[in-house]
């Protein structure tokens, strides 16, 4: 590795067993500040299990996770989030009964604090509303601010989830298949959004759409049966023999 500085996220020797199944097999991984790092692999490779361990929803059996120099291996989900790890889920997790703006304002508040203020109306609080509106604008949902999340289209809900993650001003974004279940137009819009974030945010991206991955990612790690079999730039991954054999199939990737 050329980088002399420590990675923003450093995973070392991570192991997770479910009964007899080794879902994460001695995974070591480094995510550098500012890069989009994609993780690809066939179904059942353990991608979602890995991201859940990074976010803190599942605790590993062995190994360490360091984030910005801090060992976060044993920290809860919310503690990691407060350190700056934000995520989106494969199945959208938003506040369906809230408006789009309320959803994002909630995320802004997560970062702004003062959560025990129990008198002043939160919906009149410019410290929450203004940044929230700006972020909705940034992800292209500016016109949909007052629509209840449950009434948004599927693609819009996914955009909203990214907006919420951004609103916490994270240092690292974990995106679990942001294009899942999207139509062609919707995924194009999402791709454009991710392209816009490239360079501004550090992103760990799990995605099935290979065109998107190879277009956006600075580096790619390939996960097969819980193990990282290769990490490198898109060109290197394309050329890697193991990867071709194990995952991309032998010809046309």
């Amino acid at each position: 590795m050329a980088a002399a500085t420590e990675s923003l996220l450093a995973v070392d020797g991570l192991v997770k067993r479910f009964g007899g199944l080794l879902a994460t097999d001695n995974v070591s991984l480094g995510i550098r500040e500012g890069e989009i790092h994609a993780i690809i692999g066939p179904n059942g490779a353990g991608k979602t299990t890995l991201i859940a361990q990074l976010a803190g929803e599942i605790l590993p059996n062995a190994g360490t996770i360091r984030f910005a120099g801090t060992d976060v291996t044993g920290l809860t989900v919310d503690a990691r989030a407060r350190l700056g790890i934000a995520r989106s889920y494969q199945i959208t997790q938003i506040f369906k009964g809230f408006t789009a703006l309320d959803n994002v304002a909630m995320a802004v508040q997560a970062q702004d604090g003062h959560n025990f203020r129990a008198w002043a109306p939160a919906r009149a609080d410019e410290n929450l509303r203004k940044p929230a509106a700006a972020i909705l604008e940034r992800v292209g949902l500016g016109a949909r601010a007052d629509v209840r999340a449950v009434n948004l289209a599927h693609g819009e809900q996914r955009q909203l989830e990214i907006a919420m993650a951004l609103a916490t001003r994270p240092r690292l974004l974990l995106l679990d298949e942001p294009m899942a279940g999207m139509g062609k137009d919707e995924s194009e819009r999402m791709t454009a959004l991710l392209a816009k974030l490239k360079g501004e945010e550090t992103i760990l991206l799990i995605e099935h759409d290979m065109d998107v991955v190879f277009a956006l990612a600075d580096r790619i790690s390939v996960l097969v049966y819980g193990r990282v079999i290769a990490t490198g730039k898109p060109d290197e991954i394309r050329a890697n023999v193991d990867v071709r054999a194990a995952y991309l199939g032998d010809g046309d990737a």
Binding site: D78, F95, Q109, M164
Partner: protein, 333 residues
């Protein structure tokens, strides 16, 4: 809601509160003054129902033990008054008191503290477990008071209360006491309205909507839910204190688990997550409980299926029918 352009919700609240304010005057005019104590009781249960709405409607915490906090509040007031009347020291040291500033404050603080303790264990669980454990704790409290023979056990406790509340209001004066309770209800409604729309209120509602997302955003959800649970317990304790003052007699039956069920019925019947809805629900519930028996002694056989139908077809509750569809979840504006 600016200027004079009031929306339906505001109209509903104004009309309802105005009606409640005029109730004793109408009762006197129609020679029904003996019913004013009955009306007070409705308002008191309304306060209890509003407190339950905080956790049920806004926090999404289905507690089947809320009557315990109501009962504890009532018992604190009763016991302090009883000791004052008998001049028997409490715990061998403190004297009781009739002073409502002391008794009501003690009721609020102690029932809130109890709710905090119970919440500390209960909120570690979710779903069916949470429902069951709140029920179990309420049973524990219920049997605790049944076991207190010195305070009447099963038979309950009769006690003389304060006759002049805060040096101003004569409890013998039905109307004055009614307005005191009404004023407290209005204050509770106003304060809880502020609360649910505040930052804290938004966090609590966020936990109802999607707790997993709340955690992923960085909220340590437990502490906010616990605070909400304890606060709701304290308000229920306040209602209990008023209840004790109103009746001058209490028994453990007020915290029987079916009473917790009744409170849930009031909240849902009136409109969950709206704060004002539970007031309507308490009105409707206690009205039905009073009038249905006039038609048949077996009114429960009608009331039970009504609950089922309510759940199946009228989930938004009475107040919910007055709201535009978009306003289903409470807390907006």
């Amino acid at each position: 809601m600016t200027g004079l352009k009031l929306d339906r919700r505001t109209w509903f609240v104004i009309v309802l509160l105005a009606a409640l304010a005029l109730l004793p005057l109408v009762a006197i005019a129609t020679d029904n003054d003996y019913q004013i104590a009955q009306f007070r009781r409705i308002l008191i249960f309304a306060i209890a129902a509003v407190s339950l709405d905080l956790i049920l409607g806004y926090g999404g915490m289905v507690s089947l033990g809320h009557a315990a906090f109501f009962g504890v509040g009532a018992y604190i007031v009763a016991i302090l008054n009883w000791h004052a009347a008998r001049e028997v020291p409490l715990f061998g040291m403190m004297l009781g008191t009739h002073n409502v500033l002391v008794t009501w404050t003690a009721a609020v603080v102690l029932s809130g503290a109890l709710a905090g303790l119970i919440g500390l264990v209960s909120l570690r669980t979710t779903g069916i477990y949470f429902i069951m454990i709140t029920l179990a704790f309420a049973q524990m409290v219920y049997f605790f008071f049944v076991s207190l023979r010195a305070y009447g056990g099963d038979d309950g406790l009769r006690f003389p209360g304060d006759t002049v509340i805060l040096g101003l209001i004569d409890t013998e004066n039905d109307v004055a006491f009614y307005y005191l309770v009404f004023g407290i209800l209005c204050a509770v409604l106003y304060a809880t309205r502020r609360l649910v729309n505040s930052r804290f209120g938004m966090v609590v509602q966020g936990c109802r909507e999607n707790e997993r997302r709340m955690k992923a955003l960085g909220f340590a959800t437990f502490r906010y839910k616990l605070a909400c649970f304890a606060l709701a317990g304290a308000l229920a304790g306040l209602a209990g204190a008023l209840f004790a003052a109103n009746e001058s007699y209490i028994s453990p039956s007020i915290m029987h688990w079916t009473r917790s069920g009744d409170l849930i019925v009031m909240v849902v019947l009136g409109g969950m997550g709206t704060l004002i809805g539970p007031v309507v629900g308490a009105l409707a519930f206690l009205f039905l409980e009073k009038t249905l028996p006039d038609y048949t002694e077996h009114w429960m056989v009608v009331f039970g299926p009504i609950l089922l139908l309510l759940v199946l077809f009228a989930r938004r509750g009475i107040f919910g029918w007055f709201l535009p569809k978009e306003d289903r979840h409470g807390g907006s504006h």
